[in-house]
Amino acid sequence: MSIGDPMIRPDARAKVTGEARYPDDLAPADALHAQVVFSNQPHARMVSMDTTAAAAVPGVVMILTSADVPVNEYGLTMFDQPVFIGLETTGRSRVPADVSRWEADHIALVVAESPEAATAGAEAIEVEWEPLPVVADIEAALTDEVLVHPEHESGSNSYYGLRIRKGDMAHGWEQADVVVEGTYHLPHQEHAYLQPEAGMAYVDEQGRVTVEVPGQWAHEDQEQIAHALDLPPERVRVIYPEIGGAFGGREDMSLQIVLALAARALHERGDSRPVTSRWSREESIVGHHKRHRGIITARLGATREGKITAVEARVHLDAGAYNYTSNKVLGNCHLAVAGAYEVPNAHIDSHAVYTNSTPGGAFRGFGGPQGGFVAETQMNKLAEALGMDPVELRRRNALREGSIGITQTPMPPGVTLPEVIEACSEAAGMDQPLAPEAPDGPFTPFPTLPPEPIAVKRGRGFAAAFKNVGFSYGFPERCEAEIRLHGDDRIERVELFHAGAEVGQGAHTVDLQMAADAVGVPVEMVEGHFSDTATSGDSGSASASRLTWMSGNSILGAAEEAHKAWLEGDRPAVGHFRFVPPPTTTLDPETGEGVPNFTYGYVAQAVEVSVDIETGHITVDRVVSTHDVGRAINRALVEGQIQGGVVQGQGYVLSENLVVENGHILNPRLSGYLIPGIGDIPGRVDSVVLELADPLGPWGARGMAEMPMITYAPAVIAAVHDATGVWFDEFPLTPSRVLAGLEEAAPH
């Protein structure tokens, strides 16, 4: 029985010893090197570009520009982005290419014999720009004085909106004894995965343009490459080597299309050498999207007894220069902002807004952290206003089995939020007074300043949330697996073919465990063939906390098919299965009515902090992170996701402060953009794992990977309020922001 076994991941040894091959380790000695050239112009019209001098740089082999792209456009959900900004095009794209809308828009790819020659070539490209006014942020965008995409002819930068109109707002406010409100400024967050973008491309022995690159959805990469290169998808092959983290940051294109273009162009010249490219950390931080920054205004009303009567919210997310997945992220934020509660009356307007800033896109939680922060901070403020225990307030409103959701349809079966809230409250001792001293833990938070007991205030906060598992809003959702059973009288060997991306989370480990269990053999007997569009069907992405859930269901189906074939005498017995979950729908444009998701995961967290009120420095002493995972396929990997999500949340709420001015990121380095180090992480993280089966989950499993991220920021903010009496509606809580907030609130 391999389900539930915290087995050591098969890739552990190679990753620890350095044998594992990441995309930057692939290039053979004779590989060519490519350098992407960024425009460095947040908003400017190209007047001229001259590559003559660059082409003459010794070692430069070729320079690709907009003229070399058959269809100069791409985008995961909308084609609104040119592959290259440039004046010459094939005329087959709907996106004007003569305007740079983002500092990291690409203008060329320089292919050379060495990285140094490629860099020298890139620096020798001469471009003349006519500057355009920069739409720097949401406020500037909403004036519509300057349009980022005038070609859309909508007359507005606000390009995508969603509504909720539920119940009777006048009645809701009338019934409310208490109303809380706030305007919240949510910050960007950078993925900061260990491995910056890198990859290699060549034309394989079957003539396929082949790109080996880290990503989250091999078949989607294949499709976007094929679109831009104007090839049928089967003429493009995408292979994922080891991937050094993703977190949503690899959902969109970085090097995929430009490397494919280069490989094809070299092949056409008769040059069979592979071409490789890598981004520096600075290029990575400037060159891929971020968690959306946003401005959210919200009001929440409740009776004296703590029953919610009305929610009103207005959401603006900064999509940046291109959509990426902003429309989808907005959809999640739109649902999350009302909280995981029964809300009889709601009025919510959400908008994605184009700016000339860094694009917003997918990042663990996908709109959930922004919406959830507002929902949970509003709930904690409501608890304070009512004089009610924050856990009790949640008990009285939590979604439960059979609840009608904010989109006016029943929640999918298997709602376990009440159980998660109780388990978290109990494990954290929420009904007991907070201990004056921080508890012991495996990590001692490592302040650089010796603590001054008299200045340190302790506090505790609580938050709960839900998050969809799987694609939403009618987006086509499916997952394919193939299982082959080898042997004669009995099964001797099992092969699993699956495209799901192993981005570090352990996806392939649980795939093997699930395949072993589904077939009924020991896990050692299963051989995995992963993440190659030439050998596997479409799995969908490693995102939306969906992969274990979707892969498991596809593997169960494939195992069943393979068993049938086995009984019919096929050798090898092959089972191919395409799992399709229950359908979802878009929301009604007027009322927001609809079935946005087919299942959810549930989370609650309690956080204890210490705040040095003289310096503003915060340490997190203890986190109780409670998850209903349905069934832990591999408990060690579940806990890894919890610990990792908490640490990522720690950076989001306390230290990660991306500075973007007039469309330029000013701190594109990890010395200036501060992710938590070992000395900054919480002293103790208690993982509380419930296993209450999801009715549709494989072995009852639920998705859980995004959930620890969603409640962490509001729980910390509530704990800081508990310690200091001050609410912070903007974060990260850098020491100077905390101190300024405390001073502002202090009686003068």
């Binding site: 960024f38 650089t448 003289e614 420095h617 402060n657 701190n667 380095r669 180090g677 020491p735």
Partner: protein, 296 residues
């Protein structure tokens, strides 16, 4: 593209190369220089000198020596910070320097970064500078013709600027004998554990149990160079260290620093921290039940 790399075996050889190759840069641990040399965004501030002169193979730069029993301590410029902080004499006599090193970078950085490099890089936030200034340390400078010694606060002349003339290198830091009974500490704060100091304060205090007999305060990251807080010092020197006096000294310290606002912190925040650090340092150094230990 790549710089020439020289490996001299003596100070005179190093000085000779530095004098004859324009733009040549001395390198020891390389923790600042290598970061500046790496390509980031093309055309975005990569700083590659024409030649690097390694100071890692020169024996006299690699030693910590006491000139005679009870005499001055000479710390070679290329001694890694880890070794400096582990040296028994340094531990016994320069605890604020040890504290500064223990909060400096990461263990890996401390294993290779050197005292000479930290001073030579001349960051206003250099952690080693405030304690060395508080101890009255001098920088030993060797050039083609002579060796001279200047106080640390005179060696550092501005952000990234020092009193080194072309061809000169830092060969050592020297600290005079420490009187018994003196106590000292270094407090600093970053936004996270491994961060450039937002503010650092070294305090060296001698008391007769009640009154401040002597005090020296040196602050980092609150001006273009690490600086002495002489106004606060003079208020405290000869005074009883009661809370009211310490609070007045903290106010003076806040007034006499000149921090800037940048991405890391605001000017006001840094000013405020100096006052907090002064109060906490004196509380720490006068606490009879908590004899000073390394801060971590």
């Amino acid at each position: 593209m790549s710089p020439r790399y020289h490996m001299p075996r003596s100070v005179s050889e190093a000085v000779e190369i530095l004098s004859s190759v324009p733009g040549a840069l001395p390198i020891a641990g390389g923790t600042d220089i290598m970061v500046r040399m790496r390509p980031g965004v093309p055309g975005g501030g990569q700083d590659v000198p024409p030649a690097l002169v390694s100071l890692r193979h020169i024996p006299e730069l690699a030693a910590i020596e006491e000139s005679d029993p009870g005499g001055a301590l000479r710390i070679g410029a290329a001694v890694p910070l880890r070794e400096v902080a582990d040296n028994p004499t340094v531990k016994a006599t320069l605890p604020a320097l040890v504290e500064a090193i223990e909060v400096f970078g990461s263990p890996q950085i401390r294993n290779v970064a050197t005292l000479g490099g930290n001073l030579g890089n001349a960051s206003p936030a250099a952690d080693s500078a405030p304690p060395l200034i508080a101890y009255g340390a001098r920088v030993e400078i060797t050039g083609p013709d002579s060796t001279r010694r200047v106080p640390v606060e005179e060696f550092l002349t501005g952000p990234g600027r020092t009193a080194l003339a072309p061809g000169e290198i830092v060969t050592a830091v020297t600290v005079g004998p420490r009187p018994t009974g003196e106590r000292s500490t270094y407090l600093r704060q970053g936004r996270v554990r491994m961060d450039v100091a937002l503010v650092g304060l070294a305090t060296r205090l001698a008391t007769d149990g009640v009154t401040c007999v002597d005090i020296r305060l040196a602050a980092g990251a609150v001006g273009p160079t690490p600086l002495r807080l002489t106004a606060a010092e003079s208020l405290l020197r000869g005074s009883r260290l009661d809370p009211d006096t310490v609070a007045r000294a903290a106010a003076r310290a806040e007034a006499e620093v000149s921090p800037i606002t940048d991405i890391r912190a605001s000017e006001g925040y840094r000013r405020h921290l100096i006052g907090v650090f002064l109060r906490r340092s004196i509380a720490r150094l006068t606490d009879p039940v908590s004899p000073q230990e390394g801060s971590s």
